[in-house]
Symmetry: C2
Subunit: 394 residues, 2 copies
């Protein structure tokens, strides 16, 4: 039979980029294209211990249906923790547990967006979120990034010119793919603009705990006197990505709608994993664990940045992330980026071509993304040297 798929899903076609990525996911290839947390950052013993305890002490609660809002003790400890970090919780706020920050973004789209609405985002931005937004048949309006975050003048121009703007999607800390962190001044400016134009901010912060240099900055959520911010958090980079546990903190009125959307989506998030996350936050030495992960990423990112300085052509610009998993390299204008990426793949090094992260991939882009969390030290050293040896022009 000839299937007639929905307009929304037809617009999400497997891209040429995905094909390049497939070719580079062969064994032996150096995985700078990945986005996995470092395997050595996984607290395997603690997880084994807590899962054993949960099934010993509360087996039926862990294995039966739960409520769509999420496991109450986990919600409470997250609210407490968020409040301690820059007083990000306001009187009107509430919290829902979801299956990773990806679902927080997707459900927020489901709750707010009608076809034809506009969502503003950083350009480039995280492809998973861009596709979640695209899947609601809306216009994506991408705003360029500067070294300290979104271009505020261009953001204001878009707010004036675009129609039916419902939300601004932002990753203020160690942005994916660029590694850029939004300055405090810009966080304040973005919030003021959202307030002025009555727009929701979706603040996606999956890497927030992973700052390995520079100074902690307040979340935009902490400035949210008006109830404009849906804050999305995740356990994927600090506990385990495979357990799929994340959360959204937002005004209770919005959380109520997210609960309805969550219920029709998948009823509730895996309960054993919610209980695991709660025990991990309250009964393990969580802060030491975070210190350990930061140390891993500080080390790996330094290794990569030092290698780049030593081996890359000086005309290749690159960002210096203060946390997170990624950095962003930009080739000189006259270099064919896709050709360069293909030649890198042929030499056994996989990187992601920057066009994958654009709101409009047809525009073209001379950058590529490097990941330092997944490869081993040896792979970082060798891979950067190999990349450095690739001539910029074929």
């Amino acid at each position: 039979m000839q299937y007639t798929f929905s307009n929304r899903i037809s617009s999400l076609k497997p891209s040429a980029i995905r094909e390049i990525l497939k070719a580079t996911s062969q064994p032996g290839v150096i995985p700078f294209a990945a986005g996995n947390p470092a395997p050595e950052s996984l607290p395997i013993d603690a997880i084994r211990h807590f899962l054993g305890e949960i099934l010993e002490e509360h087996p039926i609660e862990a294995l039966q249906y739960g409520i769509s809002e999420g496991y109450t003790p986990l919600r409470n400890v997250l609210l407490k923790r968020m409040n301690e970090s820059f007083s990000s919780v306001h009187d009107f706020d509430d919290l829902i547990i979801v299956s990773g920050a990806q679902q927080a973004v997707e459900l927020t789209c489901k709750v707010f967006l009608n076809e034809g609405d506009t969502v503003i985002c950083e350009n480039p931005s995280f492809i998973g979120s861009l596709n979640a937004i695209r899947s609601y048949n809306v216009n994506l309006c991408g705003i360029e990034l500067e070294y300290d975050g979104i271009d505020i003048a261009k953001l204001e121009r878009a707010l004036l010119e675009e129609t039916n703007i419902k939300a601004i999607y932002l990753i203020p800390n160690f942005q994916n793919p660029t590694g850029i962190t939004m300055s405090l001044k810009k966080r304040k400016a973005v919030y003021e603009l959202a307030k002025k134009y009555s727009i929701i901010i979706i603040e996606d912060n999956p890497y927030g705990d992973l700052r390995f240099s520079g100074e902690e900055l307040p979340t935009i959520k902490s400035m949210d006197t008006e109830g404009l911010v849906v804050y999305c958090g995740s356990f994927s980079k600090i506990l385990s990505a495979g357990i799929r546990v994340g959360y959204a903190l937002a005004p209770a009125q919005i959380i109520q709608k997210l609960v309805v959307a969550k219920q029709v989506s998948d009823v509730h998030t895996n309960l054993i994993s919610q209980m695991l996350a709660e025990r991990f936050l309250t009964q393990s030495d969580f802060e030491s664990h975070i210190v350990k992960i930061k140390e891993i990423y500080r080390h790996k990112s330094s290794l990569m940045m030092n290698g780049i300085e030593q081996h890359f052509d000086k005309r290749i610009a690159f960002t210096r992330p203060e946390g997170g998993l990624f950095l962003w390299c930009t080739l000189p204008q006259d270099v064919d980026m896709l050709d360069y990426v293909k030649r890198a793949a042929a030499k056994g090094v996989a990187v992601v071509p920057g066009v994958a992260f654009l709101t409009n991939p047809l525009v073209g882009c001379n950058s590529f993304r490097l990941n330092y969390s997944t490869p081993t030290d040896e792979q970082i050293i060798n891979g950067i040297e190999i990349l450095g040896g690739i001539p910029l022009n074929n």
Copy 2:
């Protein structure tokens, strides 16, 4: 701020029925309104054992990101198992793991439905699926049930009269809420109609393994020579509901779209639980476990049906399910059902008013749903006696 939510989510309002249910979820209330699997059906020891093994043998695989299609060994064993049961797998079929059958239905809607499309379903039907369908701003066209399933004449009339029909949603085995099983003849007739009108069938079969009397019937999927059927399965009733693992079996072309939708929804399903489900199917005595669960439900359903025969007014009709978790009672026409349900709640027995399951709750309904999996034997005996003592007219 005044929030402007999407049209789709605004249409899903908390209902008066939910309020009744809240009032009856107090401790001490006999839970005939629930839908939880029997706690004694949970294979707690096996789960504890397998989770320990998984974290011992494959900790990194279990805790890292996985692929959106699902854990490959689980997909393979499910395809094999589905093929053994009535040859339900066709050459063109493929399978995706999702977070419960609820997500299989929701993603299928996302993949097929545009605003203004029509979905046909049994009336009454499972509220979770009705709401998933409603959340895509489509018309729900409910077709009455007879003792042996959907009314075929009325189904054909709807297929002729309605516009933009995209799918028929069905629960052929031990339907929720009625407990009715669709006859083989009707399964064939429904398939022929779907073929004639080129309509997708969403076959939801969460209770399929729980037949405790009568003869096994082939799935509609097993008749699917044309590639029309999206079959939704679940581990919620045979392993654990809290782990949120389900699957969809459908033509590969549809699965490819479901994979895209799954990726933007929540990346992939909890991996530890997928690995648990795979081990449970391949390394435990799964068939004995199913026999044990069936025995529990045969016993509990008999207890309830015998109690009804003994204590209920003979003017109350009720279905005799051959499997699953529910039966359906219909009061005489002159009885005010909502008033009866409220009086039952006041006596400490919670049942679900039938209107909750209607495609149009304004139409009214004289039935209510009883669940026998959640209550204990003692609660079943006492609860049915209490219900029997409530006068039909106040």
